[in-house]
Amino acid sequence: MAVLGSDSRRWSGLLLIFVFLCSFITPVVTVKHENFKKCDQSGFCKRNRAYADAALSTSSWQAPYSLDPASIKFDNGMLTGSVVKTIVNTAETVRLPLTIAFYESGTARVTLDEERRQKGDIVLRHDSKAKKQRYNEAEKWAIVGGTTLSQGAATSKGAEKGTTNISYGPAGTFEAVIRHSPFGIDFKRNGETQIQFNNRGLLNVEHWRPKVEKPVEEKKEGEEAVVGESAKDTEEDEGTWWDESFGGSTDSKPKGPEAVALDISFPNYQHVFGVAEHAGPLSLKETRGGDGKYSEPYRLYNSDVFEYEMDSPMTLYGAIPFMQAQKKDSTVGVFWLNAAETWIDITKSSSSTNPLSLGIGSKITTNTHWISESGLLDVFIFLGPKPQDVVGAYTELTGYTQLPQQFAIAYHQCRWNYVTDEDVRDVDRKFDKNRIPYDVIWLDIEYTEGKKYFTWDPDTFANPLGMEKQLDEHERKLVAIIDPHIKNEGNYPVVDELKSKDLAVHNKDGNIYEGWCWPGSSHWVDCFNPAAHTWWKSLFRYDKFKGTAKNTWIWNDMNEPSVFNGPETTMPKDNLHHGGWEHRDVHNINGMTFQNATYHAILARDKEEDKANVRPFVLTRSFYSGSQRLGAMWTGDNQAAWPHLEASIPMLLSMGISGFPFAGADVGGFFGNPSKELLTRWYQAGAFYPFFRGHAHIDTRRREPYLAGEPYTQIITQALRLRYSLLPAWYTAFHEAHTNGAPILRPNYYVHPGDEKGFAIDDQFYVGSTGLLAKPVTTEGADGVDIYLADKEKYFDYFDYWMYEGPTTVSLAASLDTIPLLMQGGHIIPRRDRPRRSSGLMRYDPFTLVVVIGNSGDAEGTLYLDDGESFDYEEGAFIHRRFEYKSATSTLMSEDLAAASASPSRKTKDYLKAMEKVRVEKVIVVGAPESWKSKKEVEVSEELAGKSSGTKSAELEWHGKEEGKAAWAVVRDPGIQIGAGWKISFA
């Protein structure tokens, strides 16, 4: 020891300093990286990245795929043919059947299969019982419409030699230029290339091959196996072809390597968005390393990621393999229909037409590389040109978001866990006592007896029906959790039936799969199985799930599925689902099938038992393209930390443009205790989440809004009441999403696709078509925010009518009690201002219309209204109005949109009758013209029962401009029905 001398002292000194410094770094809980794979730990990702590296490192790369010209047939909007893959350095070829479909909607679809697998002409290893085909049922779950083949699509004349050209789309302005060899496709709009397939030659379909046992060469310890250059050229690296191990479990891979990969380029597009769900910026980053870029590809492999990290391409709970590319005035997109583990590399390259231009006029092209472990190569192509065209076409295929019940878009109070039924009642009473509105209270897993779903803990929830009755007194709801893992325990009828009916997921040997989750040893219901689906439906009947009532709804958690002792916290990939599909093939769809079963179970419960035609409410954590049809999602287990509040906004924006706008993040943060400031700011942000739920981990302190203390409770209550007063606007936005897939939270690029400066903005958003522009405060101690105004338009502060004029960036003061919220000129916003205990109790309240006059002097807005709970709206029981203020005539009119969308039925009449007393009590005009200064009244005429009533007058109150604040006017009680046609003349 003595020899260490002074050196050691110096080192220990440094060590001390280091330890000292470390103690200053707040210990941050972060994701357990070792639990999740990186690309090079996922064999197929590693192989395809290497393939890309090899291809891109040489200019002479020839992709070994060509379309056999003789095989091409085009008929009725559908091209078929055969792509031939030449196996490297051999004469062997593999035939890949190709179809390219052109739909009426202007969407095209390219599908590549593999002939041998298709025919079942392969041998599986390990005596596997898995199905031999590539998974071809993703569309069965994801696609619900928009696949009518185009009659107008036609082969174009004058195609270059070696290509086949098909023109399609609106007025034939789209064109697919199919290159035969190497096989590739350019998609053009108006003659300009928008999307390119296999332009970089990374197309790769891993064909089936038998495993050839080779003599294993002895490797000397510490030495890498040296492969001769020549061997490298002729042989692929087989290292990851067969059985693969990770984290102590081995995937038997009975079908060997079977990945599909393709490069998709977006020439001259600077930004790509989508491929939700990731915790990162809306505008996707490059993934091949470099300053501020990721070095891992974006990954889609639905996982229960514990304490997920910010700004990461890491996979999360759900997957929507839909990507949009954006350049000035043009949006295009692709949808990669594949349910297996998928990785997406993104790089951008800049090209300049003139080398002397010094970057000016240089164009950025975004290149993407899609890699899936198995299944078909199946891609949909959307050519825009507007953001809504792309989102609309995608949602036409995968379905529009469910039109939720009104309560579902009001405030939800959740906690893991309200511990007794009396606890629930107490929270319910305290909300009322504190005059805080809420609609739904939630129960996490602890309500069950020993984590057995469909049971209640007899000690703590002895009287669930009594609890539900109390909630129902104020039209409130209960949401109870039901997860897909079924406790493997004796005397539990649910697991007995699951086993005896053989409805669970099987392991690779065909036996019922057993894993660990909340209840300990569990089995997983296989909702891919129609019989399981039927059985699941039976479980929710009131006589089966005793203790539930009509106001009980369901929360599906852990449906990735989360398996505590499984690889990457999920199921082994070689597990088998109904029909012999391997889990690897269907993994990303699994969560959706579970929510789907629950949705239909609730639908059946209400239809069969109540004869009630009500819309189910099911929240899911895991999702896939199409889940939007079934209910809401939330962003999973976030943390009570400012970065998580901040990240929630781009994450929800991303969900919105991905066709699944009914999304929210846990308000307050799931893990940890938020400071009161953070909690308050989170409620202010949460008031703008389409799905608005406060939630907390079991180890955290209680944080119901009434516990925050003043001034916090009051400020939080204001935020909640703001949400409630704007419910008519939110509901209208949901209806729009339900009709055309439009996002509810709209990022700048979506609203202003011509404004390049705003493409990457993801911390502010517009609410539906209301013109409301919000930028929630997401940083600690902030007393203001800067809001970017993209257009030449007037914007007014929602709370004091301060006037701004775009395009510019404006600073808004935002003390703790203020939400930065602007109204864009030109809109009419419907509100209901009377505070009530729940949204159900606002049903017959009068409306306030806020007319926001902008630069044109005109304004317009819509209102959609129905009973907020049943499917009667499908039979015409709704009110849909368009309000328009025209400066030319100085009139505000209400015009019927319902008649245009549905023919009136008896239900229409009944609904209108029920709503006939509901009136517009107030019209507020922000930015009111100076010319009204001396006006004291306006003329009102109403059209009732098709007849015009006489003209009456209503009082007008006008207030002039004050130091930066706009002039405004109020029409006092015009006495008009919300569901009728009317006209108010300000002339």
């Binding site: 809980v29 357990k32 514990f306 511990v419 007794t420 009396e422 606890d423 107490d426 009473r429 006592k433 504190n434 005059r435 805080i436 803990d457 000690d459 703590t460 007194e473 104020h474 039209e475 660990w516 909340w518 989360s562 505590f564 002792n565 916290t569 079991i698 180890d699 955290t700 209680r702 009051q714 209550t717 204001q718 935020a719 009441r721 703001l722 007063s725 929602y798 709370f799 004091d800 009518y801 201002d833 009377r834 505070p835 009530r836 205990r837 109790l841 049903r843 017959y844 309240d845 029920a914 007393k917 009590e921 107030k922 507020i924 922000v926 207030h959 405004w968 109020v970 006092r972 009680d973």
Partner: protein, 567 residues
């Protein structure tokens, strides 16, 4: 809005309402106006907003379901002004010219509730389609029948039921009041007991102090005397073997004691180890491998390694039997020290025997002088002090022991005195009332546990299925907290206002959580009982407890003062 309303609502009582009703002609008031505010609505030509006298409105604007007054006073019977509250977001066009600081002038919609007690209903609840019978038994707040709702007048029935319950409650409260008096009397008695005891202790202490002094003198005297002795008992007279036996005996005794103690410690450690191992086994089985942190995983792995290693020595019955035998007294083992003990001779007899041959006065004089001389010589260092050797004379030891005992007595008396004094100064709540409850326990069943409160001592959670009890906190302090709760029909609730809360803290620690703690909030009731037990958050409990001890005074149960103040 809310605070004004609450306080006004709380003040409302049967008598004043009835008095005002008699004074004002009924029926002339607009809907929702209480007699208290009737005067503002008398003018038949115009209405003046109550807090904004500059704003005058035509009377047909009263209750026309449009909010005109910035204080909402033109809409006493509708929900049109319900948004005038600091709890609502505001824009210039909602609050009128006076800005967002508007407060509602009225406490709420006035329900006459004929046959029962009149109340105010929050404006937010007017015409929302829900019959708020708990507040408005006549259903008058749903006068517009939105969505077809009809709230029939249930005041007769509700009033009757309420009266019945109220009678019981009043009776019970009467009893509670009496019981409290008893408790206070009991507390007084207990206090008296303490005071008496203090007095006794005072006397005892004085006596003990005297005794100690006396014994100190005695010891000094004995010591002095002993020092004078030429020859010491013990080693002088006992032969080497005897000494050895004495030492051996002492040593054996020591070893036996130590062995016994060590064995006790071993057993208790063994038990603790077993308990710990079973805890860890359960921990390993029950922990969530996905949802716990690396620390937990490491702990589990370490435990697995530990459990896999060999177990060390299992408890060996034979070994224990050996130990048992060893611990038995030597006599039981066939060794009688007494047999080896040699006869002891009094040194007095030997050393000074010659004195016996002298006449007794001379003898005693000489003796005295000799001793004094010796002591002087010893004290001046001329003569070696043989008495300071390890073995003290029995006389000195006895004297010392007597002194020690007396000192101990004194010490314990003083301690007891301090304790009693402290007890006397301790906060036992108003009227010292909790003095009589201290140590009394009440319990209730909730879920799989029985929860017990021992007043001013501790709270405990006991599994019904058996197993260890969990300490949920030891008594720390008494506080005043504000509660705002409903009181159920049976009166078993805290009501609104300030209440005494007892804090129990530092209970058993929680995995991933704090030490358990309980806040016990007290409300007035006839009997001591736990009304409610809630785990407000992980390992933080709240008990609502009824006791007659708080049935009077500022912090009493609200229901003691007025019947329906919760409304």
């Amino acid at each position: 809005m809310s605070s004004t309303m609450k306080s006004t609502v709380a003040l409302l009582c049967l008598q004043c309402a009835a008095a005002v009703r008699a004074a004002n002609g009924e029926g002339s008031r607009p809907r929702g106006v209480s007699p208290e505010f009737a005067k503002f609505y008398k003018d038949t030509t115009a209405f003046t907003c109550i807090s904004n006298p500059l704003i005058k409105l035509p009377v047909n604007r009263i209750n026309d379901d449009y909010c005109d007054c910035p204080d909402g006073s033109d809409e006493p019977g509708t929900s049109a002004c319900a948004h005038l509250s600091p709890l609502s977001p505001h824009t210039p066009a909602d609050v009128g010219p006076n800005g967002a600081n508007s407060t509602l002038a009225l406490p709420g919609f006035y329900c006459k509730n004929r046959g029962h007690v009149p109340t105010y209903v929050p404006f937010t609840n007017v015409n929302d389609g829900i019959c708020d019978y708990d507040l408005c038994c006549d259903g008058s707040e749903e006068w517009e029948h939105v969505g077809g709702v009809k709230c029939e007048d249930k005041c007769q029935q509700i009033g009757k039921e309420w009266k019945k319950v109220d009678e019981v409650r009043q009776k019970s409260l009467g009893n509670a009041g009496r019981k409290r008096k008893e408790l206070v009397a009991e507390a007084k008695r207990k206090r008296k007991e303490v005071e008496d005891r203090l007095q006794t202790l005072g006397t005892e202490i004085e006596g003990s102090e005297l005794k100690v002094k006396q014994l100190e003198n005695e010891l000094a005297e004995v010591e002095r005397r002993e020092k004078g002795k030429v020859v010491k008992a013990g080693e002088q007279k006992v032969g080497k073997l005897g000494m050895l036996v004495g030492l051996a005996r002492q040593r054996t005794e020591e070893l036996r004691e130590t062995l016994e103690k060590t064995r006790g410690e071993r057993d208790s450690s063994r038990n603790r180890l077993a308990e710990l191992e079973s805890l860890l086994t359960a921990f390993k089985d029950e922990y969530n491998p996905n949802f716990n942190d690396e620390g937990v995983k490491r702990a589990v792995r370490a435990w697995e390694d530990y459990a896999a290693r060999d177990k060390g020595l299992a408890p060996d019955a034979a070994h224990d039997r050996d130990l048992d035998a060893m611990i038995k007294s030597d006599k039981d083992n066939g060794l009688d020290w007494e047999e080896y003990k040699e006869g002891e001779t009094s040194d007095d007899g030997v050393s000074y025997a010659f004195l016996n041959y002298l006449p007794s006065p001379v003898g005693s004089f000489l003796d005295q002088k000799l001793r004094d001389l010796r002591v002087t010589m010893i004290e001046s260092g001329i003569l070696a002090d043989t008495s300071s050797s390890s073995s003290e004379s029995k006389a000195v030891t006895d004297a010392r022991n007597r002194l020690e005992a007396a000192r101990k007595d004194l010490e314990s008396s003083r301690k007891s005195n301090d304790e009693h004094k402290e007890d006397l100064n301790k906060d036992f709540g108003p009227d010292d009332v909790f003095r009589s409850l201290k140590g009394q326990c009440v319990s209730t069943d909730s879920g799989e546990y029985t929860y017990e409160l021992c007043f001013m001592e501790r709270t405990t959670q006991k599994p019904k299925k058996g197993g260890g009890h969990t300490n949920m906190g030891n008594y720390e302090t008494m506080e005043i907290i504000t509660v705002d709760d409903d009181v159920p029909a049976d009166g078993k609730g805290l009501g609104s206002g300030q209440r005494i809360a007892m804090k129990y803290g530092g209970g058993q620690g929680c995995w991933n959580g704090p030490n358990r703690a309980t806040t016990v909030v007290l409300g007035c009731a006839e009997n001591n009982e736990v009304w409610k037990i809630m785990e407000e958050e992980k390992c933080i409990y709240r008990m609502e407890v009824g006791t007659p001890a708080v049935c009077e005074g500022v912090y009493g149960g609200g229901q003691a003062q007025s019947g329906r103040d919760e409304l």
